[in-house]
Point group: C2
Chain length 183, copies 2
Amino acid sequence: MRVLGVDPGLTRCGVGVVDGGPGQKPTLVEVLVVRTPPEDDIAYRLLAVAERVEALLDQHRPDTVAIERVFSQSNVRTVMGTAQAAGVVALAAARRGIPVAWHTPSEVKAAVSGNGNADKAQVTAMVTRLLRLDAAPKPADAADALALAICHLWRSPMQSRLAAALSTSVLAARPARIGSVGR
Amino acid sequence: MRVLGVDPGLTRCGVGVVDGGPGQKPTLVEVLVVRTPPEDDIAYRLLAVAERVEALLDQHRPDTVAIERVFSQSNVRTVMGTAQAAGVVALAAARRGIPVAWHTPSEVKAAVSGNGNADKAQVTAMVTRLLRLDAAPKPADAADALALAICHLWRSPMQSRLAAALSTSVLAARPARIGSVGR
C-alpha cells in the first residue's frame, strides 16, 4: 500500500510518499516541501501547491492521501491558508478517485512515537528511524508529512473497518433524510 | 464588468453573477446555491463545489471572482469547511487566469447598505432593491453572494489602484529577498 502524506500549508507544504502496510517496514518513496512566496496572491499560491501535488499524485499513484486535520489553534491568517491548501490537496485526490484520510496532529504523534504530545524533534527522530534514513528529513514539514503517511499505514486497517461500518449506516439512513436535503 | 461573487461553504455555497461598473446600475446575471450533503466525504463535497463553480466560470466568464474573506469567528469545524471551499473556488479562478478579490463581511455590508454592522435582512433588502428584483434572493447565502459581487463592482476601482501600487513595490523589493527563498 502506498500513502501520500501532506502537512498542508501555503508557505511550506510538506509532501511525503511512503510504501508499507500492516506487518511491513515502511519505505520512503519521495519527500519534498512545496514553497510559495508569501507576497504572492493567495489564489496563485494555491495553484502552485495544487499543480505540484497533482504531478506527484500522477507520478506515484498512491492508494490513499493522508492530510493533517487542521485546528484553529494558531493565528487566524495561518490557519485559513492551511485549510485552503488542505482543501485543494483533497480536491486533487477526489478528482483522481483517490480516498482522502484526515489525521489530527496528536494521532500522528501517537502513531509514530507512542506519545500524542511528542515534540517536533521526537517525531523527526522516529520518522528517521522508522524509514531507516541516513539523515533526518528537513524541514519539520517534510518529517511531518512522512509521519502522516506512516500514521495512516498503521491506522488504516482500523479506519477502513470504521468507514465501512459508517457508510453502511449512512446509506441505510439516507432515504429518510432526502426530504430535508433541498431546504 | 462582470463579477462572480462567492459566499463560500460546504453545506451551502452561494454564487452570484452581476454585471455593472462605476456609474452603472448593477444587473443580475445568475444566482444559485450549491449544496452538498454533510454526511458525505469532505473531499467529494469539495469536488462537487469545484465542479459547479467551474461550470459557472466557463459559462459566464467573469472578469473577477470576489470571495468572502473568512474569519475564525464561529465554530472551528464550520470555519475549516468554509476556508477549504474558498480555497477550491480561488484555485478554479486562478487556473483560468481570472483575478480573485477578497472582501470581509463588514466591507460587503458597508458597500451595499452603508452600515458595516447591517444584519442579514438589511443586506438582502438592499441587494433586492439594487438589482431591481421582484423577490428577495433566498436563502441568505444567495443574497450574500450577490452582495459580494456588488461590493466588488463598487470597490474595485480603488482596489485596482492599490494592487497596482503594491505589486510595483513588491516587484521592486523582490530581488533583495531571493537569497532567503530556498531556505
